[in-house]
Amino acid sequence: MTDREVSSEVIEACRRGDRDAFRVLYETYKNRVYSACLYFFHGDAAEAADVTQEVFVKLFAVIASFREGAAFSTWLYRMVHNTCVDSTRRKKVRERIPEIQTDSVASHEMQLLHSRDAATIQQAVSSLPPKYRVAVLLRHFEDFSYEDMSKVLNCSMGTVASRLNRAHKLLADVLAPLRDRVTAGGRDA
């Protein structure tokens, strides 16, 4: 996570209410947070934007309480996780697949821009129960350690391992048709 951590000076400036520093912090994390929300909410861009906004507004309000010495990204993702779960409870988010309008401009090019594999994988992740979905996103999309995950999810490392194990099995079943292609290609650079 170190390559994505902001400096302690930036965080300290944010704690003093420095808006420019907060912009730096936002720019550092916005795409990762937004993407995590996007994959959590089944590709619903509107919901992801709402939750991302809520996370950073909350962050601005409470960053003064962040303790030096703790990993900032762990703290931030705990907030992301809680906000995603709260939003799901609050709104009972519908399983909305973004509509593809047949008369929309250049819709024929979408398939060129979004690989089918990524869409299939996104759908598979979306199909997981929330607690497994969060676990695989933190582990494999955000590269969190089991220890950091246990802090974010507020559970033991054993529970983390158990959730991941279950999620891996579910995903492996759903994504079985892609196994050869994914395994041959490995992780994208």
Partner: protein
């Protein structure tokens, strides 16, 4: 080792999920929310009136009261935009504030009064968000669907964010449609619109349009009545890596009015091609006095600006 295989497979699979770009509108919404919370009225602590045991209870009650007042004050004082909703022939009036979403279905439309500077007509099957409603910045985020904006105000007061471009009003009327991925089309009917994304800017005058694509941003503007071959070649250049071949096709079919497109291309092609684009442009009309070929080819900003202003008389 099936478990380890599953883990590796899942890791590889999730490694294929792209990191998506957060829409620019999120930051504006965050700023609006933070501004609203900071603007909430502060309270000077009163001198303690009660004996110490009840002080905490009083403080807690006061905090709840102040928070309630602040929330009420914040929501009551945020500027509102009036909305006329029409659905199945019936019309109703609503009001929206920064942060609100507005969505129409297949049988409904809406007309949003944008402060005092204009209106936005919202077509069926459209979803948008009100981002900023300040007098110095009116901003909406168009998630998908179509809007028609009619704005009468100084430039750069009204903005429409999409996932791949922001339309900046320069005093105009235009329609804009976009899909959930950020692919869309801007069509200007009056005045000018600047179509911007990450430092790239396309200036679109009345009668012209400009496409935008997810991940690529706004393309190059062109007039609706441009030759079909010209438009197709431009589409290839902007979004299909058409390169030199597509530029040559454009140069063959360009008309004087298409100097709008060629002027934008000057800064979007490599130097050898730039000279050919320049020659084509000057074949329609000589370079204005005081400007030089060398400065145009060097993309000198004042030179390009002056030339654009002269060319614009023919657009």
């Amino acid at each position: 080792m099936p478990e380890r295989n599953d883990e590796k497979f899942v890791r590889d699979a999730l490694g294929r999920l792209p990191v998506e770009q957060a829409p620019d509108s999120i930051w504006h919404s965050i700023q609006t929310s933070i501004d609203a919370s900071l603007d909430a009225p502060a309270r000077v602590p009163a001198r303690p009136l009660f004996w110490p045991r009840s002080r905490w209870a009083f403080a807690a009650a006061a905090a709840v009261l102040i928070a309630g007042i602040a929330i009420y004050w914040r929501s009551a004082n945020r500027p509102r935009w009036e909305v006329k909703l029409t659905s199945a022939g019936k019309t109703s009036q609503e009001a929206v504030r920064a942060g609100d979403w507005l969505q129409t279905d297949a049988s409904s439309t809406a007309e949003v009064r944008v402060g005092t500077i204009g209106t936005v007509e919202v077509s069926p099957r459209t979803r948008l968000r009100i981002v900023t409603t300040r007098p110095d910045e009116h901003r909406i985020s168009l998630q998908h669907g179509q809007i028609k904006a009619t704005i009468s105000a100084p430039p750069r007061l009204f903005f429409v964010d999409t996932k791949s471009a922001t339309a900046v009003d320069l005093g105009c009327q235009y329609t804009m449609n976009v899909d959930d991925y950020g692919n869309g089309l801007l069509n200007v009917t009056l005045g000018w619109v600047a179509f911007e994304w990450r430092g790239r800017e396309s200036l679109v005058p009345a009668g012209a349009q400009c496409r935008t694509h997810a991940n690529a941003g706004p393309g190059t503007p062109y007039f609706e009545d441009a030759p079909k071959a010209f438009i197709n070649a431009l589409e290839d250049f902007d979004f299909s890596n058409g390169g030199e071949a597509s530029v040559r096709t454009m140069l063959v079919s360009a008309r004087q009015r298409d100097t709008l497109t060629l002027w934008h291309l000057l800064s979007r092609v490599a130097p050898p091609l730039r000279a050919q684009v320049f020659d084509k442009m000057t074949s329609f009309a000589p370079l204005p006095k005081g400007l030089t070929r060398e400065k145009v080819l060097a993309l000198d900003p004042p030179t390009l600006e002056t030339w654009k202003n002269e060319l614009a008389w023919t657009w």
